[in-house]
Subunit: 137 residues, 2 copies
């Protein structure tokens, strides 16, 4: 399967996940084409929280992100009013949702390994439950 197609399928899978909750809605963002504005792969909302998600489905055990990719996600979220998240799915495993702070930074950019994703990432149910838990405290 081509990389681009695999990416689009991963985004669709995420969108299905959010809509299947009954309380979340979401859209895939159209490719930038001739435009060069920062944008995430997916935006979802339950009317209270909005999440802007970079979505990666991969076969390897380590994912690299260019510094610019992350700074553009932050810029978009700051203007749009959304939480920045990285959604990662390694072959034959679940989705893990990571904060930008969970990424390992070096002078070339950021990376997340499979072990870090499993250790620090939230599962889908945890991600969408966070707000409710915070409110009940």
């Amino acid at each position: 399967m081509k990389v681009k197609q695999k990416g689009a399928n991963a985004e669709r899978e995420l969108i299905h996940l959010f809509w299947s909750t009954g309380t979340w809605s979401g859209v895939r963002v159209a490719g930038s084409g001739s435009m060069s504005y920062p944008s995430p792969d997916v935006i979802v909302s339950n009317g209270e929280r909005r999440l802007a998600i970079e979505c990666k489905s991969l076969s390897g055990t380590n994912k690299f992100f260019a510094t610019r990719e992350i700074s553009e996600l932050q810029e978009f979220c700051s203007k749009f009013g959304a939480e920045p998240w990285i959604a990662m799915r390694f072959d034959n495993d679940k989705w893990y949702f990571l904060n930008l702070e969970d990424m390992k930074k070096n002078n070339k950019g950021y990376s997340i390994s499979y072990s870090i994703a499993k250790q620090k990432g939230l599962l889908f149910e945890e991600l969408i439950g966070v707000y409710r838990q915070a409110r009940l405290v």
Copy 2:
């Protein structure tokens, strides 16, 4: 120019307009493809207001909307937490932004004429100024 291409260009034009303000950000929504969830053409936000926009650029003087198209926009907005808007640009004129209440309903759906759009529609500057004006009252 093909209808689909013309639609995409109109969406890009709107996205440029919002980003050019310096305070608004926005994205084009990817075509539904195999998915059948309700979604608008464009979503924009300034961090306080979120607008979900159906975007139409047309040559005629009357635009028809199927009832389902409008009810899906309402459903999306209700879940996502966004204001529903119709953006219309008739050839050689400006963008007009219309509320769903401004549309004329019959038993087949909704329609907006060029004259209604000019009479009831907000100009871009009015659309993005509404919130500030409301807050200053």
